[in-house]
Symmetry: C2
Subunit: 169 residues, 2 copies
């Protein structure tokens, strides 16, 4: 897919078709995350990719907004260090990795949605994380249950001319 | 450009050719940022796009790592609300918008590099920001001075198999 079509087609998908993601496609999506830039190239993340239905259904309960994880074909858990200073700094970089993952998915016609984690203890137990690691975000992935991804003409966003200032505010 | 090529070609560019970015291309890059997702669609950002050389050279001094702004064809300043709770939450979303902007640029053969802001007061003055807004990041843009963007085979990143865990850690 052309890059612009992937950017224009990406939307939050919260209900997925019962169709797996091919191993090669899933690895390409993970590779997009691996390539994301980060402050001083610290790469403050690990990715745990979950495809088992029982585990996905359990993970879907770690936050009130994570229900979409249950029906996903795969979910990538973004894992960070527990050191508070690292965790705070990592937020921007995690955002970059997330966008890279979601656009690589959109390129393959695969929908995505990210979620915060309200109960990191349960998430850590389900993913068998070491004591010094935390699950910060979940990115669910799968083919949309409703309609295929297609470029969105008028996204629900503030108007371009309100948002963009030229030279000065 | 195909999406995967844009993802694989994006790299930090810190020295730019003396060549402007066409207005249509610049608007497409800004539109990619506008379309980025954010927590509850709050869109916690404004973009000030700077193309004047004198202003770019002054902006390049707001942080020790912002030197690349001086030779850029354009720089997008990401502006956020000053309310501390908003500012903290916005970090992840700003990362998403930044990645979207950088990939849309790469798609057009345009390099990019982002920078933090060490002296927000000076940045705010240069951009004539209202009192309740802060310049959080700068994204410089331009055609690379060294070599065109091309897919990178072996990026300087942790090995895939070290980073990616299957099912559990």
């Amino acid at each position: 897919m052309q890059t612009w079509d992937a950017i224009a087609s990406r939307r939050n998908v919260r209900s997925y078709a019962d169709r797996p993601i091919g191993a090669e496609n899933l690895d390409q999506i993970l590779e997009a995350g691996r390539r994301a830039p980060s402050s001083r190239n610290t790469q403050p993340w690990d990715f745990v990719v979950v495809t088992g239905r029982t585990q996905l259904q359990a993970l879907a309960k770690v936050w009130v907004g994570a229900g979409h994880v249950a029906t996903s074909a795969a979910t990538i858990a973004l894992i960070t260090s527990d050191i508070p200073e690292h965790a705070k700094r990592a937020q921007f970089d995690l955002g970059q990795a997330t966008m890279s993952i979601m656009l690589a998915a959109a390129d393959l016609g695969i929908g995505s949605c990210h979620s915060g984690v309200g109960d990191p203890d349960t998430a850590g137990r389900l993913l068998q994380l070491p004591d010094d690691r935390t699950c910060s975000f979940l990115i669910s992935l799968g083919y949309p249950a409703d309609r295929p991804l297609a470029p969105i003409k008028n996204p629900d966003r503030r108007p371009f001319d309100e948002l963009v200032h030229r030279g000065t505010w």
